[in-house]
């Protein structure tokens, strides 16, 4: 009798421990609860931000919707958790969110020491500089002696110091605690240069009195590859997230869009057939329905559609894709996905 009780108690403890340690089978858990929990930023226009009606939009939001479409065939089966930069990794490793899609830079420390897996890159960012156009400056090499505004407590302070030291130029750094004060100080003329990630410059620029009167300089002084992140130790889930991103990129390369996906399923191109599930069993190998990518593309769109709708030249951010590192590799950019075969 006593032994049985003891065994029962041990089993209970074991289960409790298993449940708390962010269960290894994320896909089963997600199917059980019926939706994906996605960690996003608290509001970065173009990447993830809420509109007046409370709907989330942005390139990071689209990606989570894509994963939901792949798993459930329903892009709306996803719930968003806004996270600060400080709490994002804890939220992921504790199991509070299943994917972190929050303009997070892929670095070696995060890969190796924080127990994370980066599923790829959905935006290649880098630190840039913005100056008032009336200064007539066209290159960062002309900035000797400049006064530069930025945020305190980020890598931007280090990057900008490194850049000026490497080019043997002097400068003055005015570091504020919050981004709003940086924008206000720059706008008032306290600084000649505003530095942060280039996508951040594009978003913060909209807050200036006259956004058109400022120029973003061509120099990119750091590498900030942003991408979705999952916990280490669950390869099934890692593969699903990784291949959802790859499917969106391959779809763009093959010319499959949300509008023509249904027709393209009958295409003669075997690459498109494999992508859309009319040939092979690629979905089943992921543990998903065979039309997983078809659902992603028809409900959310391919990578290019998501880019143009959220951050592209026709959005307020005006981050032109043509000629940038975020163009498809066939157009000279870095956006490249391994083939589905």
């Amino acid at each position: 009798m006593k032994l049985r009780y003891a065994l029962g108690a041990l089993t209970a403890i074991g289960m409790a421990a298993g449940a708390s340690a962010a269960s290894a089978d994320t896909l089963e858990d997600i199917k059980a609860k019926g939706s994906i929990q996605c960690g996003v930023s608290q509001g970065l226009p173009g990447f993830s931000s809420q509109d007046d009606a409370g709907n989330w939009t942005g390139i990071d939001v689209d990606f989570c919707r894509g994963v939901a479409a792949a798993v459930f065939g329903d892009a709306d089966a996803v719930k968003f958790t806004p996270l600060s930069a400080k709490e994002r990794f804890t939220a992921l490793s504790s199991g509070e969110v299943d994917i972190l899609s929050r303009n997070t830079t892929w670095t070696m420390t995060r890969d190796t020491q924080l127990g994370l897996n980066f599923a790829g890159v959905n935006y290649y960012d880098g630190q840039g500089m913005m100056v008032p156009s009336e200064l007539g400056v066209t290159s960062a090499t002309e900035l000797d002696g400049a006064s530069i505004c930025t945020n305190t407590g980020t890598t931007t302070e280090l990057n900008i110091t490194d850049y000026f030291r490497a080019n043997n130029m002097s400068f003055e750094l005015v570091a504020f605690e919050k981004a709003d004060e940086v924008v206000a100080a720059y706008d008032s003329g306290r600084c000649q240069v505003y530095t942060t990630d280039r996508s951040g410059l594009a978003a913060q620029r909209l807050k200036l009195a006259d956004p058109e009167a400022h120029t973003v300089l061509p120099e990119v002084i750091s590498k900030e590859p942003l991408g979705p992140v999952v916990r280490q130790g669950d390869d099934t889930w890692f593969n699903i997230v990784k291949w959802t991103l790859n499917a969106m990129i391959n779809a763009e390369e093959l010319g499959v869009t949300s509008a023509n996906a249904a027709e393209m399923a009958d295409s003669d191109n075997p690459n498109i057939k494999r992508l859309l599930g009319t040939e092979g069993t690629f979905g089943e190998q992921l543990g998903l329905p065979n039309d997983w990518a078809m659902q992603v593309i028809s409900q959310v769109g391919n990578y290019g559609e998501s880019y143009e709708a959220n951050v592209g030249a026709n959005t307020p951010l005006k981050l032109a894709r043509e000629g940038s590192v975020n163009a498809l590799w066939t157009n000279g950019g870095l956006i490249y996905a391994p083939p589905i075969r």
Binding site: E142, G145, T152, T161, R165, L173, V174, E181, R190, Q192
Partner: protein, 428 residues
């Protein structure tokens, strides 16, 4: 056998019982238990922290202080006094720069707040309606608006209203230049012979001190007053000034240098739009003159004006605490109103004013930590902000910062206590 054991036991328990009912012994036991509990609690916290840090593979200790920091700081008093070049300055240098900047804004703020607070406090008791109304409005307005908002107000007012960097706007002839990038002033250049002037000043100060002591004795003995303040001031100005010219004026002012965009640099290049304006002296870039940044001015203004409103109320309360009979008694003795204020009212009011004044000085020092909001590099901003983000040793760095504030506050309090003892009523 059994019976003996029982009797022994009862004897023992009798001894224990008497000890249990002894209030002194009982008190001691509880004290020891409490102490043990407190020690165990802190030991547990310490052990937990060390274990968790080890588990997280985070390093601990103060070794990081010797490593070089890779970021640049705003030009301030701290960067003039301590090495601040990126890649050369260590985290210990960064720490000292933060400490110096916190001290600089606190000390100058305390002086300004005290002067202004005394003036406003006396105005509040004035019979002049305009002065009294102004002082009342000042106090009620400034002490009722949150300090952070006032800091933002002064900062953005300054950088919005001041002229742009490339404009040449000068004050007091050509002595000062001012724009969004700071207040540019002259810097003294000393030559051989200036040491004699310094010694002349020290000698005069000693002479004035001796004279003041002798004249005080004379007044106590004969009752004849001596205009010590004016005589002392005249001596302190006249003798060092005479020495200065006798030595051939061994000091010159060096003025801030203004460069237009089309001017040429020594290397033949044009100055260009970025460097045009007053030249800013900074670490690794020597330039004539000195600069005070708008971040410092705004923080100093906000802290001084805000704290002055509290000091004014303390001063008013102190003066009102002196009984009216004192003024009447002085009048009856034929003492003039000015002397009554200086020799009768203020010395007695000071006894009431000093203790709460000390609290205001401490508040001002601690409030200076709001500097990070407007980019003034105080200790919270550079050490607990930027440096902490790069080193990541929260416990050690926050501990160092807390110690700085504790030492500054204890030092201020010790000085004010000493001052208070001197001001205490000496009863004869």
């Amino acid at each position: 056998m059994t019976s003996t054991t029982a009797s022994e036991q009862s004897e023992d328990s009798g001894g224990l019982t008497s000890l249990l009912y002894d209030p002194k012994a009982r008190g001691l036991v509880f004290q020891v238990l409490l102490l043990a509990a407190v020690v165990a609690f802190f030991a547990w916290i310490l052990d937990n922290t060390i274990t968790n840090l080890a588990d997280a593979e985070k390093r601990s200790g103060f070794g990081f202080l010797g490593e070089t920091s890779g970021f640049r700081m705003l030009t301030t008093l701290g960067t003039f006094m301590v090495e601040s070049r990126a890649g050369v300055a260590t985290y210990l240098d960064v720490f000292w720069i933060g400490v110096i900047n916190t001290l600089a804004v606190s000390v100058i703020g305390i002086i300004a707040a005290t002067l202004l607070g005394f003036i406003i406090g006396i105005f509040r008791l004035s019979t002049n309606v305009v002065l009294r109304g102004f002082a009342t409005a000042y106090v009620e307005l400034l002490r009722n608006i949150p300090l952070l908002l006032q800091i933002f107000f002064w900062y953005f007012l300054l950088i919005e209203l001041l002229p742009g960097k490339r404009e040449r706007v000068q004050l007091a002839g050509d002595v000062f230049g001012i724009n969004k990038f700071g207040l540019f002033g002259p810097y003294p250049q000393f030559f051989e012979g200036f040491g004699t002037v310094v010694w002349a000043f020290i000698g005069t100060a000693l002479l004035v001190w001796a004279l003041s002591w002798a004249m005080k004795k004379r007044q106590e003995a004969t009752g004849r007053p001596f205009p010590m303040f004016w005589v002392g001031l005249a001596l302190l100005v006249a003798i060092p000034l005479a020495t200065f010219y006798a030595m051939g004026a061994p000091m010159e002012w060096e003025f801030a240098n203004f460069r237009a965009a089309d001017d040429l640099m020594p290397d033949g290049r044009k100055v260009g739009p970025i460097r045009a304006g007053f030249e800013t002296p900074s670490a690794g870039n020597p330039a004539p003159g000195i600069v005070i940044k708008p971040e410092f001015i705004a923080l100093w203004l906000a802290l001084s004006l805000y704290t002055a409103s509290f000091i004014a109320e303390i001063v008013r309360a102190g003066i009102l605490a002196v009984p009216g009979g004192q003024t009447e008694a002085a009048k009856a003795l034929g003492i003039s109103p000015t002397v009554t204020l200086r020799k009768v009212i203020i010395p007695q009011a000071m006894r009431v004013i000093i203790p709460p004044l000390t609290s205001q000085f401490l508040n001002l020092t601690k409030n200076s930590s709001l500097a990070v909001a407007i980019a003034y590099p105080d200790i919270v901003s550079v050490f607990a902000g930027t440096a902490l983000n790069q080193v990541g040793q929260e416990i050690e760095m926050i501990f160092m910062m807390m110690m700085v504030y504790l030492l500054i506050s204890l030092g201020t309090a010790a000085f004010m206590n000493w001052f208070n003892d001197r001001m205490m009523l000496v009863e004869r």
